[in-house]
């Protein structure tokens, strides 16, 4: 009887794994975003320098020849910008009068920075539908012919810097992922290691002898101490209960049996004396009732005993033949009716079963006792046999047997066809209880011309 928990709680391992992977996931996402941001800034800085450099070179190359501003764009400036080989470059040179001297005259002039209008700034912009970075270099001319400020505006598309950003981000991402996986694996190992004591404790409790109710002594981390404490407390209480029950049954056995024996003893003494016919009749009834009481007492105690032993006694391999033979000898009184043929038959190969000899003997004794009291007229046979997987104890008698419709009832406690006759009482109930505790069963075979058979089936031990 193991009640399944209605909703199974996820394991500690799964819980921790989920939480840790969540934290690691968020951390990784933040790191990747940061990596992308820094990569973008770095790429911009690197390429902006080139852009600024080129613009300055171009501005430097402006000269006044024959009173006119002339432009001779230096090759080195284009080489510098050519480092970003896939990007296109746009430029525009504006003379002191604000006219476009050369280049694309629709290239917009970036707004001059506030304050110092000569400072170099690189800005985002669009040109011909493409995102570009734009800068402007200023050349102050102080020639008598041409005076004022000339500007060189240079723009460059973003391909190279985007590529650089992508590459840097990608590498950083790979690093972050590898680190996250390592962290995750490490955390899982650590959790598993940390949870091991729980597993050990579980195994230790599971592997215990069922009747060992001494405190659990497993070395556990401090965190598990309350848990172990509760187990031990519970075991202690259970142990007390078991002891109490055991003592109670033992006491009851002794306390009831002793006066009952004294009673039968006194009745026996009375029986040898002379008495009138009417007295003799009463006496016989007292004797009969005392016999019934004795039998019922024995059965009740035996029932309590087998139930108790089923929970508390470790099963061990035993020879079913030996147990059954002892039961047979104990159950058949020497004073049995001499006209009944009583026999015991056992196979050469002695079948072994995993069982508790005391309980099994009790079960077989009760079945034989029932057969003697309610069945056997001339014959009672006890047979032990073994099949492939099962061992059988059969008790056959030539009495009327129990009709199939009464089988179920016969197994119940205190069932009886006629309540005033000595009931089968607990006999079959005890036998069935024991059979169940041994993984076997108690069954009947329909009465045939030979007799009625009660079969105790037990799994074979091999």
């Amino acid at each position: 009887m193991h009640p399944e928990p209605s909703a199974h709680q996820p394991s500690l391992f799964a819980r921790l794994a989920r939480r840790i992977s969540l934290v690691l996931g968020i951390g990784a996402a933040l790191l990747v975003s940061a990596a992308w941001y820094y990569a973008d800034t770095a790429a911009d800085k690197a390429y902006d320098r080139l852009l600024v450099g080129a613009a300055l070179q171009m501005a430097e190359s402006l000269a006044v020849e024959d009173g006119k501003l002339s432009v001779r764009l230096p090759a080195s400036a284009f080489e510098l910008l050519g480092l970003a080989d896939r990007d296109r470059i746009f430029y525009r040179v504006i003379d002191t009068n604000g006219r476009t001297l050369t280049g694309y005259d629709d290239l917009q002039d970036p707004s001059p920075p506030e304050g110092n209008s000569d400072a170099m700034r690189v800005e985002e912009g669009t040109y011909k539908g493409e995102d570009v970075r734009i800068t402007r270099a200023t050349r102050v001319l102080a020639d008598p012919a041409v005076t004022g400020r000339a500007y060189v505006i240079v723009a460059q598309t973003n391909e190279a810097r985007s590529a650089l950003t992508r590459e840097l981000t990608l590498r950083a991402t790979i690093l972050v992922i590898v680190m996250s996986l390592l962290a995750f694996a490490g955390a899982m190992l650590a959790i598993r290691y940390a949870l091991q004591p729980v597993e050990h404790l579980g195994t230790a409790v599971r592997r215990r002898d069922p009747h060992d109710l001494t405190p659990v002594s497993v070395n556990v981390p401090r965190e598990l101490d309350p848990f172990v404490g509760s187990i031990n407390h519970f075991m202690g209480r259970l142990g007390e209960r078991v002891d109490l029950l055991q003592r109670f049954i033992a006491d009851a056995a002794h306390q009831i049996r002793t006066p009952l024996t004294a009673l039968t003893a006194q009745i026996d003494l009375l029986g040898s004396g002379k008495m009138s016919k009417a007295d003799r009749q009463h006496f016989d009834r007292v004797k009969e009732r005392t016999g019934e009481l004795s039998r019922l007492t024995n059965q009740l105690l035996s029932h309590a005993m087998v139930i108790h032993r089923a929970d508390s006694v470790q099963l061990e391999p035993i020879s079913l033949v030996d147990v059954a033979r002892r039961a047979w000898r104990a159950a058949v009184p020497i004073t049995v009716d001499p006209d009944i043929v009583v026999s015991f038959e056992a196979p050469e190969d002695r079948p072994f079963v995993l069982g508790d000899a005391v309980s099994l003997r009790e079960a077989i004794v009760n079945v034989i006792d029932n057969a003697l009291r309610h069945g056997a007229r001339h014959r009672l046979e006890v047979r032990v046999s073994a099949g492939e997987t099962q061992a059988l104890v059969e008790v056959e008698d030539d009495g009327p047997g129990i009709p199939p419709e009464g089988w179920e009832k016969a197994m119940q406690r205190f069932s009886t066809s006629k309540s005033h006759e000595g009931s089968s009482g607990l006999g079959f109930a005890i036998a069935q209880e024991v059979a169940k505790a041994h993984g076997g069963s108690l069954s009947f075979r329909p009465r045939n011309e030979r007799g009625f058979v009660v079969v105790l089936t037990l799994p074979l031990y091999c």
């Binding site: 009851a252 056995a253 002794h254 009952l260 039968t264 309590a304 004073t335 001499p338 009583v342």
Partner: protein, 225 residues
């Protein structure tokens, strides 16, 4: 014969003692375990009937000390204990038989008789066989092939007589003497009764009891036919 009864419940001890005294036995009745153990050391008994729960020294302890000293006296244990936690049974400790209280007094007397006879008989392990019938005189068990059958005292005596000399014809008078001795008054009908019962119990055996008209009975192994 002399019997030691160790029982602390007065009512029970009285009834047992009376019953055995009525059949001509001498009964020493002790109520204390320790004093009983001392008596056993220097007195020879034909049977000891031992209660388990005793003041002074419990029945199992007494039994252990009897067997430890090499005394083979038959011991019959009376127990009121449940076997709820008995790891060893009385039989494992060397008791010859045991009865759980409350018991039938006729059963106690019958078992006591079996034990005393077995002991005084002092038979060695002698297994007598005739055909598929085997009689073990030490354990007083009878096997027909694989089957062990239970015989009453006189049936067993009768079978022992017949099985010892297979083929020989025993007259009813001879058997009467063997079964009942000279004191007991029994007539020839009793022999017919026991032979009838024995035949029924030996059913299925190849060996069988043959009636030789006017002469008596013989056991035939059945192997020859």
């Amino acid at each position: 014969m002399r019997i030691l009864l160790v029982e602390d419940t007065h009512d029970v001890g009285e009834a047992i003692a009376k019953r055995f005294e009525a059949t001509g036995h001498a009964v020493d009745w002790e109520t204390n375990g320790r004093s009983a153990a001392e008596i056993i050391d220097f007195t020879e008994y034909a049977l000891i009937i031992l209660d388990v729960m005793l003041p002074g020294m419990d029945g199992f302890e007494i039994l252990k000390s009897i067997r430890k000293s090499g005394n083979a006296v038959p011991v019959l244990i009376l127990t009121a204990r449940s076997e709820i936690d008995d790891r060893v049974s009385a039989l494992d400790l060397g008791a010859d038989d045991y009865l759980v209280k409350p018991f039938d007094f006729r059963e106690l007397e019958a078992r006591a008789r079996v034990l005393m006879r077995r002991h005084s008989g002092g038979e060695a392990t002698n297994l007598i066989k005739c055909g598929d019938i085997a009689v073990d005189r030490a354990t007083r068990s009878v096997h027909v092939g694989q089957r062990e059958i239970q015989l009453k005292r006189r049936e067993l005596t009768l079978l022992e007589v017949l099985v010892a000399r297979p083929g020989r014809v025993f007259s009813k008078d001879e058997l009467l003497d063997q079964l009942f001795g000279f004191e007991e008054a029994a007539n020839a009908n009793a022999i017919e009764l026991y032979v009838g019962r024995l035949r029924k119990k030996l059913e299925g055996a190849k060996a069988h009891i043959v009636t030789v008209r006017g002469l008596g009975y013989q056991l035939v192994s059945g192997d020859a036919s």
